[in-house]
Amino acid sequence: MQRLVNSIEKGIVIDHIRAGTGVRLFHYLKLDQADFTVVMINNAASLRMGRKDIIKIQNIIDLDYTVIGLIDHNATISVIDGGLIVDKKKLALPQTVRNVIKCKNPRCITASEAQSAHIFHLHDAGARVYRCAYCEDHIQGFEI
């Protein structure tokens, strides 16, 4: 276990996650349902960030980059093989988010229309504000 926390041979490391955000990301990526080893590290020391969260996944899987970008687009993703970083993924705030988050406006049609998709469009990248495609209510990225 100690070896996995320090390094992995083959898998994915999501690093530089804003401290306190890792658990949410863990659940949104459904890593709690994984049948392979996953390590969640909270409040690791970081020269750049002070404190950060890290998720280490001992498997190469298809990650939902929209979800990761939505929750923390400053996180870094490294794909590891043979103990070496073989690929790095750059994240961005997604322009459109579909069926990841739900509108909190009780007057929104998506609250009562079961088959309706939950779609949000990026409204203000600087403030990380998304807008519901139906009722246009705003949701702030950090609230997600």
């Binding site: 049609i109 229309e113 309706s116 139906y134 009722c135």
Partner: protein, 306 residues
């Protein structure tokens, strides 16, 4: 290809909108020429919540174009009362009609309707946010009264926080050149943050004031709104604020001689009845212009030979 729908007030470009308003003007000048334009066409009028004015205006518009109307005027008489989803209702109506006009209490309902049909959909009001054909009516009235939609100072008074007609009008007419706004309201009913952010982002000039008497003289158009009881959680707040800005003869004396006074109706008491005789009071003409605007909209959407 999905037909063009009118869900939000900004769905049409200024050019498309001007085209509809011009057609509305031609229809108003010679309505008999357009009496058979929609012959054989059916409009589904789906009103999931009560609305006398808008529903009758749409249904009259279609009938005056020679078309026919099916539909219901409250959700209790639709399958929604049995628990049917909106999308299932729309998929069914899709097989019957050529055009859907929908009013629904939920915000975004018209967009869901448009996603579930190949027919054009017109939003006749969904929740507290959008009512684009009221805006078309308002623009038509201003255009007829002032002969232009640019270079205007638009005053808006009353409930600017919850009044969706004001929000849609400001976003829409703000696209025309040199239009500015004077928003007159008590502190509690000032324009919402999203509208202020929109106006700021688009560089549209506006001022906010609580003083109607001092500001009315600078307006070309005064758009009055009702303080709506149903928007308040607290009855005391409603009673305290409903009479705050009443337009009366005294205030009208301070206004320009060619001011155009608009109101989406129904009025409660925010415009004194004595003002009805003032030629600057256009709110009943406004209802008439709304009919022609809706006739033009239906004709454009169904591609009649116009």
């Amino acid at each position: 290809m999905r037909a063009k729908s009118l869900i939000s007030t900004l769905d049409f470009t200024v050019e498309e909108q001007d085209d509809i308003l011009s057609l509305a003007g031609r229809i108003a000048a010679a309505p008999g020429d357009y009496g058979h334009l929609m012959g054989g066409r059916i409009m589904a009028s789906l009103f999931f919540e009560p609305s006398t004015r808008t529903r009758l205006s749409f249904e009259t518009a279609m009938l005056r174009l020679g078309g026919q109307v099916i539909g219901f005027s409250e959700s209790a008489s639709s399958s929604a009362a049995k628990g049917e989803s909106l999308s299932d209702t729309i998929r069914t109506i899709d097989k019957y009609a050529d055009l859907i006009v929908i009013r629904h209490p939920k915000e975004g309902a018209a967009r869901v309707a448009a996603e579930n049909t190949s027919m054009p959909v017109i939003n006749a009001g969904d929740g507290g946010r959008e009512h684009p054909t009221q805006t078309l009516t308002d623009l038509m009235t201003i255009r007829q009264a002032k002969r232009r939609l640019d270079n205007l100072v638009i005053g808006c008074a009353g409930d600017l926080k919850f009044g969706r007609t004001i929000h849609s009008l400001a976003r829409n007419i703000g696209r025309y050149k040199n239009v500015s706004f004077i928003f007159v309201s008590p502190e509690e009913l000032r324009i919402p943050t999203f509208l202020r952010a929109h106006l700021d982002a688009e560089g549209i000039r506006y001022e906010e004031t609580a003083d109607m008497e001092r500001s009315i003289g600078g307006m070309d158009v005064l758009y009055m709104t009702r303080v709506q009881r149903e928007r308040f959680f607290n009855e005391q707040d409603y009673i305290r604020l409903k009479d705050v800005y009443i337009l009366d003869t005294h205030k009208m004396r301070l206004a320009k001689p060619d001011l155009a006074v608009l109101h989406p109706l129904p009025r409660v008491n925010e415009i004194a009845y004595e003002i009805d005789r003032d030629p600057r009071a256009l709110y009943f003409e406004q209802a008439g212009w709304g009919l022609y605007a809706r006739m033009a909209l239906i004709a454009k959407m169904l591609g009649g030979a116009v």
